[in-house]
Amino acid sequence: MNTPNTYIGGHVERVEDARFLRGAGRYIDDVTREGMLHACVVRSAVAHGRLVSIDAEEALAMPGVHAVLTAADVTGEIPTIPFRRPNPKIGPYAQPVIARERVRYFGEPVALVLADSPELAEDAAELVLPEIEPLPAVVTRDAALAAEPLLFPGTTEDNLAAVFTAGKGDAEAAFAGAALVVGDSFSTQRQTALPLETRGLLAEWDADAQHLTVHGAAKLPFFNRRAMAKMMDLPETSVDYVEHDVGGGFGARGEFYPEDFLVALAARITGRPVKWVEDRREHFAAIAHSREAEAQVELALDASGRILGLRGEMFMNVGAYVRPNGMTPVRNCAQFMSGPYRVPNIALQATAYVANKTPAGTFRGPGRYEGSFFIERLLDMAAARLGLDRRTIRQVNLLTNAEMPYPLAQIRPSDGSRAETSCDSGEYSEAFHRCLQAFDWEEKEKLDGRLIDGRYHGIAVSCFIEGGASGPAETARIQVAGDGGVEVYVGSSAIGQGLETVMAQIAADTLGLPMECIRIYHGSTTYLAEGWGSYGSRATVMGGNAVREAALALLARFRALAARRLGVGEAEVSVVGGQAVGPDGAVLDLADLAAEGLAGEAKFLNSDATYTNGTAAVHVAVDPETGRVEVLDYVVCDEVGRIVNALTLHGQVTGAAVQGFGSVFGEELPYDDDGALLVGTLADYLVPLATDYPRVRCLSLESYPSPTNPLGAKGAGEGGIIPVGGAVANAVASALRAFGVAPNHLPLSPARVWALLNPPD
């Protein structure tokens, strides 16, 4: 039986599925406590205004209503939500956990109603009357830049939260010597990640122990615990964040939001458990938005299509406040616009401006999706001008493994370890060729630009990198239970990606045990003294390597304990398949030594990013009568260093690609001129349906392990969304080449595509 395990890379079905398939998953709304109160947030219906008073009298008079909390119930200064990537300029833009004198977006919390049932709380919330004197709303970039009006008068001099530069080489000289310069304006629309489960929290305050427990954690429980402890003026050890099953994250869920504090405060004030579950309508106004970006960028090339330089500026509407990761898409867009290409000279500037809209955060592939759309459009425009094949212009610029590590642009002001970063490994043309081969480019090219049965066909190709393995560390502890089972505690969190399966594969392979012995515990601060979580495509790399190291530490301890028990030297003990064998053949199982404290711990440290690279190709048909675009085929190939679980990898890449189609064609969060959000239900926000995108294929390569970690893995899955905007827009441009259209603004809704074909006179 002592053959080495090969769970890693094998066909392994997910262990978490058994409970989900039977309806036995336990999501936050499934968690209840005896005597709990239900909270409903009263939100501003005005985008910008002075909060004069809040009349809660009528609501409080309702039977079953226990309290209406407002800013007046917060002692001292209103706490503000801390930043994940602090920088000197953004300080004044932090979000207070509740509005006190001024509201700055439609949906900003102004009060919290506590009642015996969610229905009562909602009824009562309708009776809470905030008096708000409206101020002019800043909705557009022009108004924001003109500071008409200032969102933070007295504290800031403009509405610019931050200005980042991404620099490398000498862009000015590169442009001066270029054979061709192409440039244009581009934009991507405001949208949100939209996990199918809305957010929710349940807070419990133990007055005797002075201890706060917050259920409903996701993404980064340890950071949020630190933030909460500081706001509550408690030691960190007096706060726990507990994770249950999580119905999707995609970047938006799990950040510290105003409700984290408000629900906890309510529990502390009332002494009763307090539960809040966001409804879908408030979700649209409350959870982080993303992607509202405009760019004016240029590419300099030589006559053979080699990129000499990239320059320009971008403007991102980050909403009314800078949320914990509000700067991530802004700086990412600048740093990663060069993508998988050799770009020796870069001068990009990305400006984050505030406006009276929901504060922004991340959505899968933050900044990368936007930047990829911009540069991929430029490459196709350049190819057309130079008379080059669209494949050639990419091929000559794709990075080679010989150039690794290849430095990307530097971000200033520096915002942490990733301000300087390098691609780690990979022959980027390999995924490119595999993708085009699977796509059958030569065959499909015959249809490119042709009108067939009333629709114009177009194809395009788009290349990308995906950063992963966000640092600086992850932790794990493994111990053997009395029954011989192996308990693995890891700081990573599960957001629906199959974490338990992947961690169990890695633990089982390292320990040489069957996966069935492994029990995975994750995502709660109760399990480990410190930890990080799951974001920035990091769990497999950071959590996986921490589990591996903890397992190795456990094996070392097993060997030492076994040697002592057998009275022999450690070198004389062999450890295989969960058994220690002495020189005379005596065998000890893990369970035999469990009582002696058989455990291993590890803190895996790594601040170097991994970079998965890949290529996507798409075939579309455009109906010129309606502007509707159908995706006839989509192939994406990525090189991920090492495939731990092909099933979950491909599942995530496919899902990300389809989310990308939603981004390109339909999902949009429009506002009116007064700053009112015009989306309230899923009838307004068009996410992909089962009927929409039936043809998505993906394949993965693992020829170039990442040198940054012993597993050789690279963060993956997220990448599926990154190339979609560029690929689809270029395919539409190619289909409609006879009309010379430039689809430079997303979404490519039927109305917009029709307008491209029917420009106003």
Binding site: E13, R14, E16, D17, A18, R19, F20, L21, R22, G23, A24, G25, R26, Y27, D29, D30, E119, L194, P195, L196, E197, T198, D245, V246, G247, G248, F250, V277, D279, R280, I495, G496, Q497, G498, L647, T648, H650, G651, Q652, T654, G655, A656, A657, V658, Q659, T681, L682, A683, V687, P688, L689, A690, T691, Y693, P694, V696
Partner: protein, 163 residues
Amino acid sequence: MGKQHYQITVNGEPQDVLAEPRELLIHTLREQLRITGPHIGCETSHCGACTVDIDGRSVKSCTVFTAQVAGKEITTVEGLGSPDAMHPLQEAFREHHGLQCGYCTPGMITRAYRLLQENPSPTEEEVRFGMAGNLCRCTGYQNIVKAILAAAAEMNASKEAAE
């Protein structure tokens, strides 16, 4: 608003529930009966996470009052398969990785169960059309469709074998 007693049958078990006229079935199931497989994703009947089967039809339980289902038979995902064996649809979803976060899954499976009663041998297009009222944000639907087609084949094969 006075509460009233209603008799309903859920997963084969008769239940007496006390509900306000405005109480939605999804809330009765989840809060009174602690049947938490059906989930709430929107409360506007767009997402399908709350899909249950009522007297042989797929219904989004967030848009039906408990008062409307008095005397009716309701099946949720918990009522599919047996304690020892999962339903072929549940098996197929696992085998084909037709779920990630699992939030839409109970509604998906309950809807797919009815779809295959309505049309035991659907084409891919029919499956996609039949599932269009159930949103999934993780999978992009490819593996859900594969799983349903595989389950249909499996169910038809065992039916043939039994005949």
